[in-house]
């Protein structure tokens, strides 16, 4: 049965809050992992899995499903929490994150058998190429499912990303929807200090892509932008989603030091109490 889609932004907001809570709990239990990006992407993952994508948690390999390629494997906690809440596996399993024998690897690994994982990923810059391969196959087979690819903004510093960007436009892959988590931060600090990405929209546009921008932490904006993305034909489309790293936990929002740090159990409790 295809997942029932929720359109009410208020309802989606509650799901995002629950996902954030589970991100914090699973990371605190793991003792390591990437908090900032996972929290920042919670609203986008909620919109994709609960409102936009055609998918079936009871039949994860359903051929007609939309695919989500999480190129930034380090935000696994938000992917896992979204999958669990959508019904792919029990929510209790989230507490096994990063532990020996767990299906929830530090970066997603298909070989561990977690349902709903489309790609083992973690080496930055590869996911878009894989998504291009999937979009080429969909186009050749005349299928109409979409391939969503979540990328980080820092990840765009990898040169091979632009090989993939070029190839998607060359082959007019309109099955492909890229979402860039534009939070302006990476491990060493601000992207503008580490390696300037601007003018980012112009870069994508000059490569032949349709570019859209939105507040990536506003459900209504995300939904309306994702909706417009499906109206783009004969070329690939990218959404530059302006998000706040650590969104939802005021104490750590927009702080690059929380890119790759997990909260202690005490911190997690405190953060959860303040979640919006």
């Amino acid at each position: 049965m295809i997942f029932k889609k929720i359109q009410d932004a208020g309802e989606l907001k509650i799901i995002s809050a629950n996902i954030r809570k589970d991100i914090l709990l699973s990371l605190a239990e793991a003792g390591s992992g990437h908090t900032g990006g996972s929290l920042g992407l919670a609203d986008i993952f909620t919109c994709l899995y609960f409102s936009v994508m055609n998918h079936d948690p009871q039949n994860p390999q359903w051929k007609g499903r939309d695919r989500l390629i999480c190129s930034i494997g380090h935000v696994a906690p938000v992917l896992y929490a979204a999958l669990a809440h959508a019904g792919y596996f029990p929510e209790e399993e989230l507490l096994t994150l990063r532990k020996l024998g767990s299906r929830l690897q530090g970066h997603p690994g298909r070989d561990h058998g977690l349902p709903g994982i489309e790609l083992s990923a973690g080496s930055l810059g590869q996911g878009l190429s894989v998504a291009v391969g999937m979009a080429l196959a969909a186009k050749y087979d005349r299928e109409d499912h979409r391939i969503f690819c979540i990328m980080g903004d820092g990840e765009l510093q990898e040169g091979s990303v632009w090989e993939a960007v070029m190839s998607a436009a060359h082959h007019k892959l309109d099955h492909l929807c890229v979402i860039v988590d534009r939070n302006n931060l990476q491990i060493d600090g601000r992207t503008s200090d580490v390696m300037e990405l601007e003018p980012l929209a112009d870069k994508w546009r000059s490569f032949g892509w349709e570019v859209m921008e939105c507040n990536g932490n506003d459900h209504k904006e995300i939904l309306s932008t994702l909706g417009s993305m499906s109206d783009v034909h004969s070329k690939p489309v990218v959404m530059l989603a302006h998000t706040l790293m650590g969104k939802g936990v005021k104490a750590i929002e927009n702080d690059y030091r929380w890119h790759g740090k997990a909260p202690s159990k005490e911190e997690a409790e405190k953060f959860i109490a303040t979640l919006e």
Binding site: A121, S123, S129, V130, V132, L136, A137, A138, A164, S167
Partner: protein, 320 residues
């Protein structure tokens, strides 16, 4: 009993690879070929002409190519990605490691221009490190056919029998097409080409022919050399190697590749752990190649039959 060799003239193994992809494409409608701008040079023009709708041009972008192949495989296709081995195995090594091998996908990777016999293009284009890099990756099968007929067969088998990543290495220079068609070519099985009990010569790829010729030279000097073709470097045929170690007590390996980490190392891993005997690894000795005619280079790097036989005699004298 020695194998009766065939004489079908000379062809590069790349031709066999191209013919194998074409045949596999006829049998598998899901087989798709990725172009990396050197389509004819790696033998894929045959397929591109016959099945243009299943040929996808991706330009000079090997890293993208390898990961695109992973995406196609995840969608039920059998992608073939081929370029020169130096680029296929080295430029896109991380994409092959993570997107292809970690995801354990049926991607056929062709590594052309293997060895120094590439000739005048020189060091940048002579793949001498690809075996070492490809064979260390989990889930990867590594094939290294000795002639065009075997290259075609192994390519078809890679499409028909495997469901996991495979690297096929082939050369540019024409080499005698000699493997008897009545002996079976099976992935993972070595082939005994000549009996002998004084020493075993194990070779891979284009060096198999040279090793055979070396054995005939040695015969005239009273040395009875066994010759074994190892066309599957991973998973390697342990039985044929252990048997040779037990029966001939001495092993010489021959490859157009660095002596570190390559085919000889793969044989040594089996020998050292199962039936330790003295070995000599013949290959490129930790140096880059250079420009020259293929035959000149084979001579300079002591990889032709005459030099191999001299090295074998020296090795036998040192270890008697």
């Amino acid at each position: 009993m020695n194998m009766q060799l065939n004489n079908r003239g000379s062809k590069p193994t790349k031709t066999g690879f191209g013919e194998g992809v074409l045949e596999a494409g006829k049998l598998h409608p899901e087989l798709m070929v990725l172009g990396a701008d050197i389509t004819a040079s790696v033998g894929l023009d045959l397929f591109a002409k016959e099945f243009s709708e299943r040929f996808i041009s991706l330009g000079i972008a090997e890293q993208n190519c390898a990961a695109v192949a992973a995406g196609l495989a995840l969608s039920g296709k059998i992608p073939v990605f081929s370029t020169y081995g130096v680029f296929a195995a080295l430029r896109s090594a991380d994409q092959i490691r993570v997107s292809v091998c970690y995801n354990n996908l049926h991607v056929i990777i062709g590594g052309a221009h293997a060895g120094i016999s590439v000739g005048p293009d020189g060091a940048t284009h002579q793949a001498l490190e690809d075996i070492a890099i490809m064979r260390v990756l989990p889930n990867m099968t590594v094939l290294s056919p000795c002639d065009a007929t075997q290259a075609k067969l192994l390519t078809q088998l890679a499409a028909d029998k495997l469901k996991s990543p495979v690297y096929i290495r082939f050369g540019r220079e024409a080499v005698p097409d000699f493997i008897p068609t009545n002996i079976e070519t099976e992935i993972g099985k070595g082939q005994l080409l000549k009996e002998g009990n004084d020493v075993s010569l194990m070779a891979t790829g284009h060096m198999v022919w040279e090793a055979l010729q070396a054995a005939y030279i040695l015969e005239k000097q009273g040395v009875d050399a066994r010759v074994i073709n190892i066309h599957t470097i991973k998973p390697i045929d342990k039985n044929i190697i252990i048997e040779a170690a037990r029966e001939t007590k001495k092993i010489v390996t021959v490859e157009e590749h660095q002596v570190y980490g390559g085919f000889g190392s793969a044989v040594a891993e089996v020998v050292a752990q199962n039936f330790p005997v003295k070995m000599k690894i013949i290959g490129i000795n930790d140096t880059f190649g250079e420009s020259g005619k293929p035959a000149e280079l084979m001579k300079k790097f002591k990889l032709d039959a005459e030099d191999i036989s001299t090295t074998v005699i020296q090795f036998l004298n040192d270890n008697n």
